[in-house]
């Protein structure tokens, strides 16, 4: 099958000067039927993920799995080495002295859960990503300072360069820019 032709640009990005303006614009754009949307802000904004109908967050699940693997694995390592692999009989004391194994089990639970949280967050976010088309927009540098951006991607079925531009301009934006690949 022939791959779909690449659109000439990545998308259009609109600039806003406040968190509330971005939130309102995102809601309107979503209501208009656009789905390939992403909002960018210099700090997390309450409600923006809901405006994008983004609910699926698997970071907690990954962290939980990491914790379980760390805890079970840690205890198994101690039990296996003390009971099976290298048992040492000290005055007939039990080989599986589980209370003494708890501190290390606990530490490994926390360690593995934390590493899973970090890697889960980065992996699901697709980071590290040294290049992204938005970095071509000069204004976008301010997304890490004091400006708020809403990007409609060209792969959106409703995307039309002129009509989408007009729509974004009417959303009280400071400006609308082409995003080159």
């Amino acid at each position: 099958m022939k791959p779909k032709p690449k659109p000439p640009i990545y998308g259009l990005v609109a600039e806003f000067d406040g968190a509330e303006a971005l939130l309102a614009a995102t809601r309107q754009t979503f209501a208009e039927g656009y789905r390939k949307l992403e909002a960018y802000s210099p700090f997390p904004i309450e409600g923006l993920d809901e405006a994008l109908e983004f609910h699926r967050n698997r970071v907690p699940l990954i962290t939980l799995i990491g914790g379980i693997v760390g805890g079970v694995g840690g205890f198994f390592m101690e039990w296996f080495s003390a009971v099976i692999h290298y048992p040492i009989n000290v005055g007939g004391r039990p080989l599986n002295s589980w209370p003494a194994f708890i501190p290390i089990t606990f530490e490994l639970t926390i360690l593995c859960a934390s590493i899973a949280a970090l890697l889960g967050m980065l992996g699901l976010n697709g980071l590290p990503m040294p290049y992204h088309p938005l970095f071509n927009v000069d204004q976008f540098q301010r997304a890490s300072r004091d400006r708020f951006f809403l990007c409609v991607e060209a792969t959106d079925p409703k995307f039309d360069r002129e009509r989408t531009r007009l729509f974004l301009q009417n959303l009280n934006s400071k400006g609308v820019y082409d995003v080159d690949h």
């Binding site: 000067d17 406040g18 968190a19 303006a21 995102t26 992403e38 909002a39 960018y40 802000s41 210099p42 700090f43 997390p44 904004i45 923006l48 993920d49 405006a51 994008l52 983004f54 967050n57 970071v59 907690p60 962290t63 914790g67 390592m77 003390a82 692999h85 290298y86 002295s97 003494a100 194994f101 501190p103 290390i104 606990f106 530490e107 490994l108 926390i110 360690l111 859960a113 934390s114 949280a117 970090l118 889960g120 967050m121 980065l122 699901l124 976010n125 980071l127 990503m129 040294p130 290049y131 992204h132 938005l134 976008f140 540098q141 301010r142 997304a143 890490s144 300072r145 004091d146 009280n172």
Partner: protein
């Protein structure tokens, strides 16, 4: 609809709160002020002086370690019965200092204490560097530090495993987990700020440096969503961790039968002492930093007031620990325990005990008065006194308990040598060297969280 959060006309629905950031700041000015310390200013004279003095001490540490590796632990004052000496005193002291950083960043985050925002970044950095200093001491104390990896489970040709029932092995896992998790937490907090630094940087190489570290962060809403959850989860994991680490450190003592060590009060007493000394160190660092970098608008008197209250509260918990140790010694009816308490107060190291009481019990009592809590010189001096007092407390617990245990024929004295002192002050040099490098290279206040605060309070 398009209300600008920066506009001063926005009606303020919040009840009046003490300011955690001075009024008049915008997203842009907050960003410029914090990133500007690193990016646009020339290296200030006070940084050069402070860094140079710290580096001289760091060189002293290297000399002390080199001589130690050449000659062996005999260069220290340790001997039987006091085999633990300065190395373990310093270890417990440093790891305790680290705990306040995690507490500020994780615990106060979970309790939505907004005032943590302007101090959490450098408090976390302090944690990392304090743990680095702490981790060094038990390894040096091993005698053969180059085989430290024997402490970890690894495929050994003799099929040997670490002794899981030993608190010293728990300690290895606790401290290395603590160092790793503190680093992850600190780094996750830094990612959005590294992106800000990347976008502010003018110099190509500087931009590449921050760009690589920021990993392409661009503030997408979906990313923020996952980021916040991950950050909260890490805070939730770090909070029990920090309690467990100092509990495990206290197990190093309580599992032994030495009078003065074998006590059930140790875990909470150690954790309270760790928070106490850690907050003292945060205050000792915050006061010069806010003064020299003109950050009084971000680290306000309200912050100092709050930290002084924590110092007072944890100081009282530590005092309770001292009282209970004496009470239990008397109540136990054991002549060895009773002698231990008597020896602490009136034995050859009595001066240490009375200094501990003066530094840790009496000096924080000043903070019952608001005038004292908001007086910068008083706070600075008391915080230094508490740092010294907590070091002496660990000396009291370790050396004074060990030097006279059961049999008078096995008693002895411990005197530190020049190399003990060189390693202690050298580790302070290592800590400060890392701290000053951090201040010079990375944003010392969380920029994105400050923007959130500015947005909320406008």
């Amino acid at each position: 609809m398009a209300t600008n959060l920066n506009s001063p006309e926005r009606p303020d629905a919040l009840p009046p709160q003490p300011p955690v950031v001075a009024p008049g700041y915008t997203y842009a000015s907050v960003t410029e002020k914090i990133s500007g310390i690193v990016l646009t200013r020339r290296t200030p004279w006070f940084w050069i002086i402070a860094f140079t003095s710290a580096f001289v001490l760091f060189v002293l540490l290297n000399v002390a370690i080199a001589y130690l590796l050449y000659k062996g632990v005999g260069i220290w004052g340790i001997d039987i019965p006091v085999a633990w000496g300065f190395a373990i005193v310093n270890f417990v002291w440093w790891i305790g200092i680290g705990h306040a950083g995690t507490l500020i960043s994780a615990f106060l985050l979970l309790f939505r204490q907004e005032w943590r925002t302007s101090i959490n970044r450098f408090a976390e950095a302090m944690t990392l560097f304090a743990v680095a200093c702490a981790g060094m001491f038990p390894l040096l104390h091993l005698g053969r530090p180059w085989v430290f990896y024997w402490l970890f489970p690894y495929p050994d040709t003799m099929r040997l495993w670490p002794q899981w029932r030993s608190p010293l092995v728990w300690d290895v896992f606790a401290v290395s987990t603590y160092a790793t998790v503190s680093f992850i937490f600190w780094f996750v907090g830094l990612i959005p700020d590294l992106a800000s630094m990347r976008d502010r940087a003018r110099n190509r190489f500087v931009r590449a440096f921050y760009g690589i570290l920021a990993m392409g962060w661009r503030g997408a809403a979906r990313h923020w969503h996952r980021y916040r959850i991950a950050y909260l989860l890490l805070a939730g994991l770090a909070t029990p961790l920090v309690v467990s680490v100092h509990s495990v450190v206290s197990f190093d003592f309580t599992i032994a039968i030495v009078p003065g060590w074998h006590s059930t009060i140790f875990p909470p007493y150690f954790v309270a002492g760790a928070i106490f000394s850690g907050f003292a160190m945060v205050i000792s660092l915050a006061i010069p930093i806010r003064k020299f970098y003109e950050l009084e608008d971000f680290i306000t008197l309200q912050h100092l007031d709050n930290m002084a209250k924590i110092l007072l509260a944890t100081g009282l918990m530590v005092s309770y620990g001292y009282v209970m140790e004496v009470f239990m010694a008397w109540y136990s009816g054991s002549p060895f325990e009773q002698y231990m308490s008597h020896n602490r107060m009136f034995g050859p190291y009595a001066v240490v005990f009375w200094m501990v009481i003066a530094c840790n019990v009496l000096s924080p009592q000043l903070f019952w008065w608001k005038r004292m809590r908001t007086s910068v010189p008083v706070l600075f001096i008391v915080s230094i006194i508490v740092n010294i007092g907590m070091w002496l407390e660990r000396f009291m617990i370790i050396v004074v308990s060990l030097h006279r245990d059961f049999m008078p024929s096995a008693w002895g004295m411990y005197y530190p040598t020049f190399w003990d002192l060189a390693t202690l002050f050298g580790s302070v040099g290592l800590f400060l060297t890392l701290m000053f490098l951090f201040i010079r290279v990375l944003p010392m206040i969380s920029i994105f969280e400050m923007r959130e605060l500015v947005g909320e309070h406008k």
